[in-house]
Amino acid sequence: MKKAEHKNFNINLPKSPTGIQGFDEITAGGLPKGRPTLVCGGAGCGKTLFGIEFLVRGATQFNEPGVFMSFEETNEELTINVASLGFDLEDLIKNKKIALDHVHLERSEIEETGEYDLEGLFIRLGYAIDSIGAKRVVLDTIESLFAGLPNQLILRAELRRLFRWLKDKGVTAVITGERGDESLTRQGLEEYVSDCVIVLDHRVNNQTSTRRLRVVKYRGSIHGTNEYPFLIDEEGFSVLPVTSLGLKHNVSDERILSGIVALDEMLEGKGYYRGSTILVSGTSGVGKTSIAAHFAEAACKRGERVLFFCFEESPNQLMRNMLSIGIKLETWVKKGLLQFQATRPTFYGLEMHLATTHKMVNDFKPDIVIMDPINTFVAVDKEFEVKTMLIRMVDFLKANQITALFTSLTFNHSALENTDVGISSLIDTWLLLRDIELNGERNRGMYILKSRGMANSNQIREFILTSHGVELREVYIGAGGVLTGSARIAQEALENAEVLTHKLDIERKKREIERKRKALEIQIATLHANFEAEEFEANKMIETEKALIKRIEQDKIEMAVSRNAGKENNKTKNLKK
């Protein structure tokens, strides 16, 4: 979809790719082909470099030779200056890929006597273009002419003609201009070059400087309108179109272990999500870096690549310190899986930090990025700017499926759950470390403040740094509150003693019951015996009675027989039948 769009307007407006990292993305393809572009900005903001890189990249990557007409620096100065950026101008000149032309105007040598035009400049530029078949032209800084030639009327008319002429020539031109007080350029060049205007800026904020680039105008094309940070380093110019990142990144269901068994257990036993953002915050000295180091070690053991930005400690100090808790990071550094990048936050501006992070990440291609700690940036810039920078950072890392672990220092006087940079909403898993002061001891507690997309434990655990790493213990929670450290141990002993007495009590109770049961049984047996005796007696009496009744009946029959034999006898006999 996006590609199709690109193609579409490429047809409408042909573009000339600059090859400058990130710039072609903002402008959706580069500078307008065959048209002049104005690049303006204050002193030292990188105008010349932009121009020269446009030419060098054009010559080396896009096979478009270019002419650099300098009104300020001599050819030798220019060659030396850009050699520091890895551009070999001499070689390119030899191969007729680039032509340098230094135009020098000395006001004191010139006397003006009547009508003239700048045909000489045209011829000269035309000659240079034709000599190498140039497709690109840079004029740096043409405004110098205003200092050399007194008649502005002629000059302005001629400049207008020059830009027209460049268009007719079909070369893609970059014209640089010094920034003016009220207009974009001192001499109002934007009047003449109206197809594309780029403003470079070099701002100093709290003693740190940031370079920014903005496309003010781009006729016939959509372009990013924001101010984009850019940096100039040993590889030249790079612009970061980072604000264009959104929330469209893919998510992973994969889980990765944190390196601390008990912590993994708290996170459903599986650890963090890959590509998520983890924040470890806490007061100083609670072990934030240790958690980060554990995570780094665990990742390296899995064979993943880790990029560790430390803003407060040197890598060696950090490695030494982590040795004390049994984490040997040096092994992984040697194996090339772990890379440290240590800079002071104040070393350069936020944007520059962001830019270097980008570059480092693109170069090293890590699976995990650790930044320890992030809130030191607040010292450099305002909270809001830090936040926007971190949003961009998080977006960038997420888009690349990189798991990020940030640590953040909170201060005792501020609320624990309040990070200085206010990025809580960006965080997927937030571990909070806090110190618990009790009975003259200061112990560490840890809990999971939030963890998106998993049923995490809600327990506070005691966090112990041992010689073999971080351990998490269950803390005692009871009538006395949360107990940690030796208080917890004492409480545990107390509990053990209580359990023992309880056990004894139970034994005693059991025995008593047994005894009672036995007594009861004996009683039951006696009653049984008594009953049996009585029953026997009763049965005996019943039998005697029965025998007696029988005898009486027998006697009656016998008496009847003796009184009257015969009938009675027969009757009884019949009855019997």
């Binding site: 105007l105 040598e109 010139i110 006597t113 009547g114 009508e115 003239y116 045909e119 000489g120 000269r124």
Partner: protein
Amino acid sequence: MRQKQVNSTKKSLEENLVATEKDKWILRLYVAGKTPKALTAFTNLKKICEEQLNGKYSIEVIDLLINPQLGVEDQILALPTLVRKLPVPVRKIIGDLSDTERVLVGLDLLPIN
């Protein structure tokens, strides 16, 4: 390549210098084609030289349309440009030389007052 050519012309120029009389003026007029401005400039120059230099001069007219690379040596931007190669220092006068007063000042032929 171009640089070399320039050097060689410079050398030949210096050789010429030795050969010519010390007070001879060497003037170069750069033009681009036979434009009205170029023609005016040449006429004006000729006139001034005749009046002021009594034949102790030489004028070289360089047409940049024919030899564009020659403009580099003298840093020619504006046309027409008159360059006083000798006597040193080099002076440049741009325009069609219609302002005689200024031409004379530019050529150091007239005190500024």
